[in-house]
């Protein structure tokens, strides 16, 4: 469980994070989504005690991060996979983390196996690692204390498609065992599939939050029929706002309501789905674009 309450960070005139409140719950993966420079990393650093907030507070497992005597046992953190000493071997990086937390050397071998780094790779210096390997190493370090909470900044960065698939499975399993996962990304496609809940942030503010389904529903319903013109007419008469898109009609109501109207008008539907074409991507772009132009929450 992670909670942030009215979290704000200002640097002089610039507000990096503005009044951000949300909860990441046990058993679910929360995606922290926003374009570059939206304030995701700053918010995550505030959650882990690296950056003092200007105002507001965060709790991890009901405590302030800095009040955890041995945080590695409860919270796995990876904020930047490339922030590792290039002269150390992968195994040494993990060993340092394991020793600090106080878990035995078996944890290192176990951690390497979990993230799929071979013995040979673990013996190489981090300097020679690809970004994907560094991500795996960082994830192993985050997992090494067997935590209940994971805080990961852009963990899918640099991973190949197999790697992303693997990580998705790993995080899903972690959440299904009752863990809390908060991960950030600027790529919606990465987050959309693994996250149960989304917190979308733009220019330091939360512009939308909720489950993936809820957010898609807000986007309206995309519908195609054998007679789109008649359907558009029927929807308009029912007081539903309709726009025509290349992918079909976009109705600002639930899919159930669209279905009922079509039934009453005796129009055959060929396609009916929550959310507009491009799914959340469009929502994400719309929300963050509005935000960056006008600086007010949508």
């Amino acid at each position: 469980m992670i909670t942030a309450t009215n979290l704000t960070k200002r640097y002089g005139d610039f507000t990096a994070v503005h009044d951000v409140s949300f909860t990441a719950r046990p058993g679910s993966v929360t995606g922290f989504l926003g374009p570059n420079g939206a304030g995701k990393s700053t918010a995550m650093r505030m959650m882990t005690g690296l950056t003092p907030p200007t105002s507001g507070e965060t709790f991890v497992l009901g405590r302030r991060y800095r009040e955890l005597p041995n945080p590695g046992r409860h919270v796995g953190v990876m904020l930047d996979a490339s922030a590792q000493h290039p002269g150390r071997t992968g195994r040494e990086v993990l060993t340092l983390a394991a020793r600090t937390i106080g878990v035995g050397p078996t944890a290192v071998a176990h951690g390497l196996a979990t993230v799929g780094l071979t013995d040979k790779e673990a013996g190489r210096r981090v300097r020679n690692y690809s970004l994907g390997m560094r991500q795996r190493l960082g994830l192993a370090a985050a997992l090494i204390g067997d935590p209940e909470v994971l805080i990961l900044d852009e963990p899918a960065n640099g991973l190949d498609p197999q790697g992303i698939h693997w990580m998705r499975g790993l995080l899903r399993g972690f959440a299904d065992r009752g863990g809390t996962v908060l991960l950030s990304s600027h790529l919606l496609s990465e987050v959309q599939i693994v996250a149960d809940e989304l917190v979308i942030i733009g220019n330091g503010r939360i512009v939308a939050e909720g489950t993936v389904e809820e957010l898609l529903e807000q986007q309206g319903t995309r519908v195609r029929s054998t007679d789109d013109a008649a359907l558009a007419d029927a929807l308009t008469r029912a007081g539903v706002e309709v726009t025509s898109t290349p992918a079909g009609l976009l109705a600002q109501t639930s899919s159930e309501a669209v279905g009922r109207i079509a039934l009453d008008a005796r129009i055959v539907l060929t396609d009916l789905a929550s959310g507009s074409a491009g799914g959340l991507e469009e929502l994400f772009l719309t929300l963050t674009a509005t935000e960056s132009r006008e600086g007010i929450a949508a």
Partner: protein, 266 residues
């Protein structure tokens, strides 16, 4: 101007966080000794760090070998060997201290270090302790080299004209100066240049300006540690050691600790 959307969930957030008891942390402890051993390990687990220490120890043996081969007969005494061996060591110890302190920042490993140990003061203390431990190891190597050289040259084992405790204390002061400079600048090259240049400039200035040479007897770290290694400490020289250390060790350490404790770690 907070909008309704982001703050909507705030009341739920607060009630749900109070409903759940905070995580049990009663068994959690990271003993200080563990942190010190980890900081020592961090100094030797990279090629650069390991070779710097090997070189520092090796220089002692080189100096000793040179003295045995080319030195004069009357110099083949344990205190002379030790004095010559510790001379380069005293110059290199601050650099070792600097590298210990700046490592987390130059390679950004601080992100991991300070998320695992959020109480940053403990890391500062562990780094100080680790640098002092390594300093003692290097001194032991130097003392070994001096003993070997004395043995090989058939020289005299005495301790006249040198104070072992004084040498150890001096070495610790110089090491600590390095850690302090490293912490104050948080940047390896700048800290090394500053730790070499500032005292040198100070020494040159005090040689040129008469009133400064009076001040220097109280504030020049090389001058105030002189009687310490020679074992000729008086009440006044202890006071001078205290003032000199306060300026070159205490002040940068205070500045550095403040910076590390308050700095945002990125």
């Amino acid at each position: 101007m907070s909008t309704a959307a982001p703050t909507q969930s705030a009341p739920q957030t607060m009630s749900s966080s109070t409903a759940r008891p905070p995580v049990d942390v009663s068994g959690d402890r990271v003993p200080f000794v563990r942190l010190v051993t980890i900081e020592v390990r961090k100094m030797v687990d990279t090629r650069a760090g390991l070779w710097m220490l090997i070189t520092m120890a090796g220089i002692g043996f080189l100096v000793a070998g040179g003295l045995v081969v080319w030195g004069q007969e009357q110099d083949h005494r344990y205190p002379t060997f030790l004095g010559f061996i510790t001379l380069p060591l005293m110059m290199l110890l601050p650099i070792m201290g600097i590298m210990s302190a700046t490592q987390e920042w130059s390679q950004r490993t601080g992100l991991a270090t300070f998320t695992l140990v959020p109480r940053r003061g403990r890391i500062i203390a562990a780094k100080v302790a680790a640098a002092l431990v390594l300093c003692l190891v290097l001194l032991a190597a130097g003392a070994g080299a001096a003993a070997l050289a004395t043995l090989v040259s058939g020289g005299e084992f005495t301790l006249t004209g040198i104070s072992l405790a004084g040498v150890v204390l001096t070495a610790l002061v110089f090491t600590l100066q390095g850690v302090a400079f490293g912490a104050a600048f948080l940047n390896t090259p700048i800290a090394i240049v500053a730790s070499l240049a500032l005292p040198t400039v100070w020494t040159i200035l005090s040689a040129m300006i008469s009133w400064m040479s009076d001040v220097a007897r109280w504030l020049d770290l090389n001058l105030v540690t002189g009687p310490l290694t020679e074992g000729t400490m008086t009440g006044e020289s202890w006071a001078q050691l205290a003032t000199g250390s306060a300026l070159w060790v205490g002040l940068p350490l205070v500045i550095g600790s403040y910076r590390i404790l308050t700095r945002e770690i990125k």
